[in-house]
């Protein structure tokens, strides 16, 4: 039992670092995923993944393989895309998801162009996106800092954020906090994704944000317990996924996400809130 569950982490520092970074990422990103899901913005993470590419690429061109430059460039690009898409959605008849789709495609094309202008054909994506097995100190600090900032800001904008999820009309009638809260929230999304990409890779960053969130939907009705369950299932996926990767010799990022995916599918079936097994066949109409 010890060899199965604990030894991989006590024997190898890289496993401890991987676990620590996944726990930090889970605490920061999973709550954000819950809010994204409640606001029907679940696919924004994937779009953002492509959107940050030109920023990170420009950072790479200017300063080379420095975490600070990559993160800075990615953050700026992410903010520009998020705010630009938001502004266009507000000023024209286009919906936010549609303008985001347009923006991320432009951004992706720009990113690929910049990457190839570099002249070498080495896969820059390889550098731009990290691996969970190769987390060094600055990277770990970056993830932990992002998770801490996220939690503090989430606590600060908690009330308007929750209100906007459940009753945006009411929020607008009683307060002007909705706009700033929305912007702060988008900033958190971008921050968590950028940090996650650079440190752990695209798949892991988006997966840990969204899968535990949609899993939690099947276990709780109120937002607070949903957040707790999302964080818990994210941490559990990270731990189990790393063990799976270690024992079954699978690539680590996908292993973590597969565990999270399995938890989701399980919840779809047995989750107490709207799970499939609780579905009752429609009762027959009363007949005379």
């Amino acid at each position: 039992m010890h060899a199965l569950l604990i030894a991989p982490f006590s024997d190898y520092e890289f496993m401890r670092r991987a676990l620590a970074s996944i726990v930090a990422l889970s605490l920061g990103a999973a709550p954000i995923g819950v809010f994204l899901m409640l606001r029907r913005m679940s696919l924004i993470g994937d779009a953002m993944a492509h959107a940050i590419l030109p920023g990170a690429a420009i950072g790479f061109l200017i300063a080379g393989l420095s975490l600070f430059a990559l993160a800075g460039g990615g953050l700026i690009a992410g903010f520009v895309i998020a705010l630009g898409a938001g502004a266009i959605a507000r000023l024209t008849q286009l919906k936010e998801d549609a303008s985001l789709a347009a923006f991320f495609l432009i951004s992706l094309a720009l990113g690929v162009t910049i990457v190839s202008m570099r002249g070498t054909n080495v896969d820059l994506l390889h550098f731009l996106f990290g691996s969970v097995l190769a987390v060094d100190n600055p990277t770990l600090l970056l993830i932990v800092a992002i998770a801490s900032i996220s939690l503090v800001i989430l606590a600060m904008i908690w009330r308007p954020l929750v209100l906007e999820c459940v009753d945006p009309g009411f929020l607008r009638s009683v307060s002007r906090a909705g706009g700033p809260a929305h912007i702060a929230f988008l900033a958190l999304v971008v921050m968590n994704l950028v940090g996650g990409f650079l440190a752990l890779g695209t798949l892991l960053a988006v997966g840990i944000m969204m899968l535990p969130a949609v899993t939690a939907r099947f276990w709780a009705r109120d937002i607070s317990s949903m957040l707790a369950i999302a964080c818990g299932s994210a941490v559990l996926s990270g731990y189990a996924g790393l063990l799976l990767s270690y024992h079954a010799n699978l690539p680590s990022g996908p292993a973590v996400i597969l565990v999270a995916g399995a938890l989701y599918l399980l919840s779809v079936i047995v989750g107490p809130v709207g799970g499939l097994i609780w579905l009752r066949p429609p009762r027959r109409h009363l007949e005379a």
């Binding site: 070498t120 990767s245 024992h247 010799n249 680590s252």
Partner: protein, 301 residues
């Protein structure tokens, strides 16, 4: 309006003509080499008579390279094309025929005894190791093949090519002596390193060094936690003194492994591609000297 346009045209014509005229008398032989190391060898043999373009430039990876239309154009204009052979450029024969080129194709490794290596994609499956240039003795064969190819394509330059090749072969002889001397300085039990890329098979067998590639960590697939744990165990058990990263693989994983095992992180080795002109490995000879310097720095003491 018309006159102004005419004047512009005339102006362009006049400025263009002298430029063309200057190029005329030299009329260099256009040669294409598939990657930067081969290109450097061709440059040294061809000298001023040959204009060499390389398809995969400095720091590029010939294994995963995909040709562009501009490359096809370069090839269609070339009189002679140099390839490494031994399976390095799977894309090359298609590219030459697709470009409609009538160029002579010279395989630089003709006459070299190939080594086998494990296929990165299919473990346990042996394929021909294409990185023959990592042994200086093989580089001498490259040079002879390049010389003969150039003479065939441009018989008028025979004496120039022969003289250039002779000079360069002398430099290679000196280089090989230096490589052997540098390896001799490293204690026998410390002549072992781990590196991400398996390009040093010929170097290892020619000069007696053991290059261990971390299993499962290739440029193509993501490593599993088990792979990394295996490498760490291997380094601890066999007391491998140094870990080297390559200029074309993800360095972060190797840094993590070195941190964890206490093995020294070596400097940058160049194996498949030269560095840019201002880098430490701008030519083949610089590359080999850079590599032995790095081996010495990490393994002695």
């Amino acid at each position: 309006m018309l006159t102004r346009r005419l004047m512009t045209a005339a102006l362009i014509a006049f400025t263009a003509v002298p430029a063309l005229a200057q190029d005329k008398p030299a009329e260099k032989i256009k040669a294409v080499a598939t990657f930067s190391i081969l290109g450097d060898l061709v440059k040294n043999v061809g000298g001023d008579r040959v204009e060499v373009s390389t398809l995969v430039g400095p720091n590029g990876d010939a294994h995963v390279y995909s040709p562009t239309p501009a490359d096809a154009q370069t090839i269609s204009k070339a009189k002679i094309v140099f390839v490494n052979g031994l399976g390095l450029e799977g894309w090359m024969t298609r590219l030459v025929s697709a470009a409609g080129s009538k160029a002579v194709t010279v395989t630089a490794t003709t006459g070299i005894k190939p080594l086998k290596m494990e296929d990165e994609a299919k473990p346990g499956h042996m394929i021909t190791d294409p990185h023959a240039w990592q042994s200086v003795a093989n580089a001498r064969i490259y040079v002879a093949n390049i010389r003969d190819g150039l003479i065939k394509a441009d018989p008028a330059g025979k004496s120039v090519y022969e003289a250039n090749a002779k000079d360069y072969l002398a430099k290679l002889t000196a280089l090989e002596a230096d490589v052997k001397a540098a390896i001799q300085k490293i204690p026998v039990e410390r002549r072992r390193i781990i590196t991400t890329h398996d390009a040093f098979g010929y170097f290892g067998s020619a000069y007696g060094m053991k290059f261990i590639s971390p299993e499962g960590v290739s440029t193509e697939s993501e490593a599993s936690a088990k792979d990394v744990a295996k490498i760490i165990d291997q380094i601890r058990k066999e007391k491998i003194p140094a870990v080297f990263m390559e200029n074309i693989s993800d360095p972060r994983l190797m840094e993590q492994i070195a941190r964890e095992t206490g093995a020294k992180i070596g400097g940058t080795l160049y194996s498949d591609a030269l560095s840019k002109a201002d880098g430490p490995a701008a030519t083949y000879i610089d590359m080999m000297r850079n590599n032995i310097r790095q081996f010495g720095a990490a393994l002695i003491g």
